[in-house]
């Protein structure tokens, strides 16, 4: 077991449900400091939900979430905001503010939380935009960007405050192979050069293998497997092999739970 201080986030016996559906059942996850931790899982298992729980946008039904040893459920709003200033989050759909330009989007956290002079803000923002290859798009409005560009701008915004923890929700979706390579290297480089910790949600097994130090595969509300990417791809477990090799048949159902297909087509399910 790791020493307490090496753990960035500890999730203990987490239960969470939405309506009738229990999304997490006694989930336990430990995320180490200074590493890139990947969270994988079939669509709809609750990866985004897990990130929202870690950042306390949602509150668990039971269980505790410790961030740097502190129970986030007990934080006051002020302390929670203090913690969030040290976190950068990339939303699955970018979530750029649509009424301000790309430049202002990236500058937003700086303008809200610092009193830096305009020249310095400009310098920082352009540096971050340059890192994601979009310095030229600074004056565009978010509505003029493609999905992949918006996500890269959102990435620049997530890292503009130089956070200690970076959280990425599906950063690789919708990127062309070139920007994908750049972003993968950027994630790795920031983690190592700046000593930050990264949490990365992704379906992309290959990319994860190149950037993650440790990964968790979540399925059916529980951790199905964990370990380094190598360990995962060598596991015997059917479920892990199915996911890592992208097979339709196996313990993970491709279909969301539904009545029997033939029965439903024949209209018998209504009875």
């Amino acid at each position: 077991m790791n020493d307490q201080s090496d753990n960035l986030i500890e999730i203990r016996n987490l239960n969470y449900s939405r309506g009738q559906r229990q999304i997490f059942k006694n989930l336990n996850i430990t995320i180490a400091k200074g590493q890139v931790t990947a969270i994988m899982g079939p669509s709809g298992t609750g990866k985004t939900t897990l990130l929202r729980l870690i950042t306390r946008e949602l509150n668990p039904d039971s269980g505790t979430i410790l961030v740097e040893g502190i129970d986030i459920a007990k934080l006051s709003q002020k302390d929670l905001y203090k913690l969030r200033k040290r976190m950068g989050m990339l939303f699955q759909n970018g979530a750029l503010l649509t009424d301000i330009s790309v430049f202002e989007n990236v500058a937003f956290p700086l303008r809200e939380h610092t009193r830096l002079p305009n020249r310095l803000i400009r310098h920082i923002v352009l540096t971050k935009l340059h890192a994601v290859g979009l310095r030229g798009a600074a004056d565009m409005m978010p509505s003029e960007l493609s999905g992949g560009m918006a996500r890269r701008v959102a990435l620049a915004r997530a890292m503009v405050m130089d956070p200690a923890i970076l959280i990425y929700d599906e950063p690789f979706v919708g990127l062309d192979p070139i920007s994908m390579g750049v972003i993968v290297r950027l994630v790795r480089k920031m983690n190592d050069a700046l000593g930050i910790s990264s949490i990365l949600v992704s379906h992309d097994v290959q990319e994860i293998a190149t950037v993650a130090d440790c990964s968790y595969l979540i399925s059916d509300g529980k951790v199905a497997a964990s370990g380094s990417p190598d360990e995962l791809s060598n596991t015997r477990s059917d479920l892990v092999r199915q996911f890592m090799h992208g097979m339709a048949d196996g313990p993970v159902a491709f279909h969301y739970s539904a009545p029997n297909y033939a029965e439903q087509l024949l209209g018998r399910d209504a009875e």
Binding site: R52, R84, K85, M89, F108, P109
Partner: protein
């Protein structure tokens, strides 16, 4: 039956309670935004106020013109056409100015507020702010609420002034009422109390219409359908609230 009625009432009171708490939170956060982030408020005054100006001016002009026509046809029966100025001024300042402005505001600015906030919610923009340690209530809702509250009395004043101009045009220039009598009658009959009543009304309507628009947007179900419903509800509820409050305030002032 009685049970259903009770549940409906219970539901209504609960919502009203939540609305009140929401209102108090907006008000509690207003001073610091007003003084420290005045730029945000100014932008919203522009959005809610300046952009509604054309519709307010056009409506004001024609409502005033109609007052001139109707006033003339009624008052001439009593040989009192000279009072047409008083008739128009009272109607505009005390009733039509605040009420029609509030209804137009709900349709023009209120819907824009509700749908903008609802869409920001649906596209995770409010969550993103929350994650950047910025309270969306302060950053997004309070400036929009204040923008509405500040613009409403100004818009109502513009409406009344343009309306009076319209009434003057119809009464004096078209129907030949004496210009001196038109103004003099207004001067002698209109009291400061009447002006206050109009201002008071438009401030109350400004608070109510902005509050409901911001509230509906913030509580919208974050889908396309949810946002469109919230938008519709914000106009309907604002209109009803304004008309009911207008009755109550008028009764109090008489």
């Amino acid at each position: 039956m009685l049970r259903d009625l009770w549940y409906a009432l219970d539901d209504f009171l609960r919502t009203l309670g939540q609305l009140l708490i929401f209102f108090l939170r907006l008000v509690a956060n207003s001073p610091s935004i007003l003084f420290r982030r005045a730029g945000l408020v100014v932008k919203q005054v522009y959005n809610a106020g300046a952009l509604s100006l054309v519709i307010i001016m056009v409506s004001g002009f024609f409502v005033g013109g109609v007052l001139g026509l109707q006033g003339f046809s009624i008052l001439s029966k009593f040989n009192a056409e000279d009072s047409i100025g008083t008739f128009a001024a009272f109607s505009l300042l005390k009733e039509l100015g605040p009420v029609v402005t509030a209804l137009l505001f709900a349709g023009r600015a209120g819907t824009a507020l509700a749908s903008e906030i609802g869409l920001m919610k649906a596209t995770d923009q409010l969550s993103a702010m929350e994650m950047m340690a910025t309270n969306p209530l302060r950053r997004v809702l309070v400036p929009r609420f204040l923008g509405g509250v500040i613009s409403m009395p100004m818009l109502a004043a513009v409406f009344s002034v343009i309306g009076l101009f319209g009434a003057h045009l119809v009464g004096v220039n078209l129907l030949g009422v004496d210009q001196g009598a038109f103004w003099q009658q207004i001067q002698t009959t209109l009291e400061l109390k009447d002006v206050y009543e109009g201002i008071f009304k438009s401030v109350v309507f400004g608070v109510v219409a902005s509050l409901l628009a911001v509230w509906e947007g913030y509580n919208a179900v974050p889908t396309a359908e949810g946002v469109s419903r919230a938008t519709t509800r914000s106009v309907v509820n604002s209109a009803i609230a304004v008309l009911i409050l207008d009755f109550i305030i008028t009764a109090r002032f008489i």
